[in-house]
């Protein structure tokens, strides 16, 4: 399953770091962050619960970029 979330982040490199962090989160099959359109597209693993996974994704992203936001 694929879902797209709006995000807020200030710098392009931070967006890259968020993408790395999201990719490594459990339950995430693949993630793409577009700094230009401020969007994160997450592909979830089979059977993963998006809401729960996204909580972890946000936590992981906050670690690499304290000021980022994912709108869920």
């Amino acid at each position: 399953m694929k879902k797209t979330y709006k995000i807020d982040v200030d710098c392009a490199n931070c967006a890259n770091l968020m993408e790395q962090a999201a990719k490594k989160t459990a339950g995430v099959k693949d993630a793409v962050v577009s700094f230009m359109s401020l969007k994160m597209t997450v592909e979830f693993e089979e059977g993963a619960e998006p809401a729960a996974v996204m909580k972890d994704v946000l936590k992981a992203c906050r670690k690499v970029e304290p000021d980022c936001e994912i709108f869920m």
Binding site: N13, F35, M36, S37, K39
Partner: protein, 626 residues
């Protein structure tokens, strides 16, 4: 400027003012130190905070941490040397923040100007309820509902006009500036702007299925498909920063140690300073921001022209296209039949058409329609009597007392009329008047007006080979190929053969990419098999929008060359930025290591490169002179 940016601007101004004060006022040393500290903290507190959080989260190589280390290091050096001059640390932080602010504003601006190009989302639909117009969410309008579109409004949902006459502007969808006339019975597509009159439209699709939603979805998802340069940059960024940091460490430690071993003074201060300079240049920002920005601008500029590109990766492939394969019908030719000639006419050519059009007046066959179109007037049925259709052969009728026979070779043979066979390609209609041969009319699929120019433009854009695929006979294909100036043609192909043909060409290619251009009808497999599939003139055709990688909203072949030119320009900008940013950064690293460039030069280089790279990236948005 948004709130965040205004706040940053205030901090920059306060900090800069404090810095000037510290330099101009004759303050005692302690007071001056306090002013410097205030200036530094005002501009840098958030960076110090993030650096601290970074250490807690083990994210040591992020730019905040590096900026913090570089400036704190510079302060420590100043304290150690007892100079009391903290200008450098404050200024570096100040310029860093100015650079970030500029980048923020520039990116926000381009984001807005690009999304303005794609601002075709209708906000509401008008429905008539109890004699009054009510605005509703287009998402809630059911298929078959009649909606009202007032002049100046955007048509929210695809449908058919039931009432009213107007002109619509399709510029936002096709890039075509000439308005189109619509009247009852005409199909209209969502996203167009209704210009002159009030029209009522019966919707034929749900909002989510409408053209405008499909296009928005396509454009919005385009940035999630990343190109090679983008992937390269994000990989590079991951290596670059740590590499620069380790070199900085080596620069701080190795030379002094070697000097000590050689018996000369270690000069720790100088080498530490040079190492700190390294850290200032360690942020890969200019690259990381300008590459996706260039692609974003390129895709935005293309959509302004009615060329929708589904992702940066396709923009990249498009720029490498060396072979363009056309499916004849709908791309090179119009896919509509028209009278292309009247041969061996025994009477006046107009008379031949007039008789034929009248004889065929009862038929709704495409052939008779094209006869009527060429005749230019509606045939007068009162002049026609005794219409007799001979299936598979043609028609006979009495027009103005003359017995007219219009049909193929077989009809002429049946009537025993001696006819002249036609050597041209297309459908031939022989006309006999009272049993005497009066010539034949040739009806064929005609080429689009600008095919020749389009092929020349393609060559100019760097395409080396153009190929035409068609199901027509060999002689027909050769004629068209020669007339429009296409390099190679393959005729008598069944739809399945086209896939095989394209596969064979893909295998035979050395370097470069192959683009397949189709009209989206029956060619979805080939569109997806080619390196890049271009569907043209597909407004409203879902299958083509799904299967193709590039969608041309109108059916002008010139747009293919334009799409390639846009992609080439965009990629050129991307490589310019990569080379320029890397060259400046590396030369700064070298100059810094040699002690020829200080922290000031480093921060100027860093911010300057970024500004120039961002400005350069925005050039991709301009597609005028391509």
């Amino acid at each position: 400027m948004n709130r965040k940016q205004k706040k940053m601007l205030r901090r920059i101004i306060i900090s800069a003012a404090l810095l000037i004060l510290a330099n101009l006022l004759p303050l005692p040393l302690w007071a001056r130190t306090v002013v410097y500290a205030a200036a530094y903290l005002v501009i840098g507190w958030d960076i110090l905070r993030k650096a601290g959080l970074g250490i807690v989260n083990r994210q040591v190589f992020d730019e905040n941490f590096l900026m913090a280390v570089a400036t704190v290091g510079a302060i420590a050096l100043a304290v150690y040397e007892g100079s009391g001059d903290y200008n450098e640390a404050v200024a570096v932080m100040l310029f860093y923040q100015i650079g970030e602010l500029f980048q923020n504003i520039a990116v926000g601006k381009s984001r807005r100007s690009i999304s303005a190009l794609m601002d075709i989302r209708p906000d509401y639909a008008n429905i008539e309820q109890d004699g009054a117009l009510v605005q509703v969410d287009p998402d809630e309008v059911e298929v078959g509902t009649v909606i009202v579109v007032q002049p100046g409004e955007r048509i929210p949902i695809d449908g058919v006009v039931t009432e009213g006459v107007s002109t619509v502007n399709t510029a936002a969808l096709t890039g075509e500036s000439l308005p189109r006339d619509v009247a009852a019975g005409d199909e209209v597509i969502s996203g167009c702007i209704n210009l002159s009159g009030l029209i009522k439209v019966q919707t034929t699709r749900a909002f989510g299925e409408s053209t405008v939603s499909k296009i928005l979805e396509l454009v919005e998802n385009s940035s999630s498909r990343k190109s090679q340069p983008e992937n390269f940059i994000s990989k590079f960024a991951r290596i670059y920063t740590p590499a620069v940091c380790y070199s900085a460490l080596a620069l701080a430690v190795l030379p002094p140690v070697i000097r000590l071993l050689m018996g000369i003074p270690a000069d720790f201060g100088t080498w530490l300073y040079r190492a700190l300079t390294f850290l200032v240049i360690s942020c890969p920002c200019a690259l990381v921001i300008s590459i996706p920005l260039s692609f974003f601008a390129g895709i935005g500029g293309a959509s302004k022209e009615g060329i929708l590109i589904k992702g940066s990766n396709y923009l990249e492939t498009l720029s490498q296209v060396k072979t363009v394969v056309f499916d004849k019908t709908g791309t090179i030719t119009r896919g509509v039949f028209e009278v292309s000639g009247i041969h061996h006419a025994a009477v006046d050519e107009d008379r031949v058409i007039e008789y034929a059009a009248h004889a065929e007046c009862a038929s709704s066959h495409p052939i008779s329609q094209s006869l009527r179109r060429h005749y230019g007037k509606e045939p007068d049925r009162s002049r026609v009597s005794d219409i007799e259709e001979i299936s598979g052969r043609g028609v006979m009728a009495t027009v103005d007392g003359v017995r007219v026979a219009a049909g193929n070779d077989k009809l002429m043979e049946q009537l025993g009329v001696e006819y002249t066979p036609c050597h041209s390609v297309g459908t031939v209609i022989h006309v006999a008047l009272d049993g005497t041969y009066a010539g034949h009319i040739l009806i064929s699929d005609v080429e689009k007006d600008d095919v020749r120019e389009a092929l020349t433009a393609l060559r100019k854009a760097g395409v080396e080979k153009t190929v035409m695929l068609t199901g027509d006979s060999d002689s027909a294909a050769r004629q068209i190929a020669e007339r429009v100036g296409i390099d190679e043609y393959h005729s008598q192909l069944l739809p399945g053969d086209k896939v095989a043909m394209v596969e064979a060409m893909l295998n035979a290619m050395r370097g470069g990419k192959l683009a397949f251009v189709g009209d989206g009808i029956n060619d979805a497999p080939v569109l997806s098999r080619a390196d890049i599939g271009i569907a043209m003139g597909v407004l409203g055709s879902d299958a083509a929008i799904e299967a193709a990688d590039v969608v041309l909203m109108d059916d002008k072949p010139m747009k293919i060359a334009k799409a390639i030119a846009i992609s080439r320009k965009c990629l050129r900008i991307v490589y310019e930025n990569i080379v320029f940013a890397l060259a400046v950064k590396f030369s700064c690293l070298v100059l810094g290591a040699l002690g020829l460039a200080g922290m000031w030069a480093a921060i100027f280089a860093d911010v300057g490169v970024m500004v120039l790279a961002v400005l350069n990236a925005m050039r991709a948005l301009n597609t005028k002179n391509l």
